[in-house]
């Protein structure tokens, strides 16, 4: 049986998470490994994401000795202190001992899109370490935080039955990006109705209608969800291979790198706002070239 080099992976992740753009490329290294299957799990805070991931990982990893799976779980940073409480592990106790599993909790740090700084680099790094699947749990989201859609292959959006009005904002937002919708806490009143409401409002995207699956914390529905994730992956591979392409990922990665480089250049230059707009712009371009 293989053994994950946990200390190495862990240290690499810290290095990349803290690295400025200029160091990121060196830290990730130029690997040519096949991309991992990336699954995104998102939804409102307290909706049951961590509980669901606990059950889903156990289902997908099972007792397999070959499959390796990494979980990146993002929690929000305090806007006041910059610190964070990363509590996703509280609900992931059932999977804590699986040998093929690696879990990393991340603070959103400066990111305001439901993800965290350097997330694409962290995903690339984990791929370099050969994980077959990566599960990305994002900060609870509403209307605007749809960026997760860009970095995963299959996006699972969870909705608790007591989501109430927040579902209204999700309808024109993250729900439109969902490949699979899960109504959690299926044993609570209102779950059935929420599932029916969602099924009525979800529209087919690219010729495919996202299934609505109900789960319970006891594990009901989790095997069905896992099968739906595998089925979606197969569908994308066969019907929409372009969305999985290396080129698409590369372009998103480049955008993420250059956006951060712009932030770094703006932050490091106190005089950037002086003079005319075109002078500021030229100055920014010059800063980007030298960094």
């Amino acid at each position: 049986m293989h053994r994950l080099p946990r200390r190495q992976i862990s240290r690499d992740l810290t290095r990349v998470a803290n690295a400025p753009v200029s160091d990121v490329l060196e830290a990730i290294g130029d690997t040519d490994v096949p991309p991992a299957f990336r699954i995104g799990i998102t939804g409102p805070p307290g909706g049951g994401k961590s509980t669901l991931i606990n059950a889903l990982v156990a289902e997908r990893l099972g007792n397999s000795l070959e499959t390796t799976l990494a979980v990146l779980a993002i929690d929000p940073a305090s806007p006041v202190s910059g610190g964070a409480i990363l509590g996703d592990r509280i609900r992931m106790d059932a999977i804590a001992d699986l040998p093929g599993l690696f879990i990393r909790s991340l603070s959103s740090r400066g990111a305001r899109n439901g993800l965290c700084d350097n997330v694409v680099d962290l995903l690339a790094l984990l791929e370099g370490h050969g994980f077959s699947e990566i599960l990305l749990e994002t900060v609870g989201v509403g209307q605007s935080e749809v960026a997760v859609h860009e970095v995963v292959d299959t996006l699972v959006v969870i909705v608790p039955p007591d989501a109430g009005d927040s579902v209204q904002t999700m309808k024109s937002g993250i729900l439109e990006m969902a490949d699979i919708v899960v109504v959690t806490k299926g044993d609570q009143p209102g779950a059935q109705r929420m599932a029916a409401d969602l099924a009525a409002v979800l529209r087919a995207r690219a010729g495919r209608e996202p299934p609505v699956i109900q789960t319970q914390s006891s594990g009901v529905g989790v095997a069905e969800l896992s099968a739906a994730i595998t089925a979606h992956h197969r569908w994308v591979t066969e019907q929409r291979p372009a969305t999985l392409s290396r080129e698409k990922r590369r372009i998103y990665h480049l955008k993420a790198l250059i956006e951060r480089q712009i932030h770094e250049a703006l932050r490091s230059d106190q005089q950037i706002a002086q003079g005319t707009l075109s002078q500021s712009y030229d100055r920014l371009l010059a800063n980007l070239r030298v960094t």
Partner: protein, 131 residues
């Protein structure tokens, strides 16, 4: 913030089910800028060490109210060394009698925090050791 980007694990080993103290410390560390991972209740030393390694923490705080602090701290520290993670500082907090302090320090514990101490003094000591 002096604890900015520092990663700290707050862990509850053993069988006691009281985590108010652990949560108070976790919140105070967050307010000092740290990224705090909380394990939840009743984790084995094996699980705690694996979490500390996977999360690449700078410090591991064990919250223990059961009286088994000597055994649990020794077990965690021995396993950290076995995983080549002996550089992770280990702190112990909880109901620790004065006469056990020397024993814990000998085992490699870097700091001992009891309920008589103020939160500010605990955070200040952690900041000092991690800076």
């Amino acid at each position: 913030m002096t604890l900015e980007k520092k990663r700290i694990l707050i862990a509850k080993p053993g069988l006691d089910g009281h985590d108010v103290g652990a949560k108070v410390i976790a919140l105070a560390l967050r307010d000092a800028g740290a990224e705090v991972i909380y394990t939840g209740l009743r984790r084995s030393p094996e699980q705690i060490v694996r979490i500390a390694v996977d999360e690449d923490v700078d410090m591991l705080g064990l919250s223990i109210l059961s009286g088994s602090h000597k055994e649990l701290a020794r077990s965690v520290i021995a396993q950290l060394h076995a995983e080549e993670a002996g550089d992770i500082k280990v702190f112990v907090g909880g109901t620790i009698p004065d006469e056990d302090f020397d024993n814990l320090r000998e085992a490699g514990v870097s700091g001992i925090f009891t309920s008589e101490m103020t939160i500010d003094s605990v955070i200040a000591e952690i900041e000092r050791q991690l800076s």
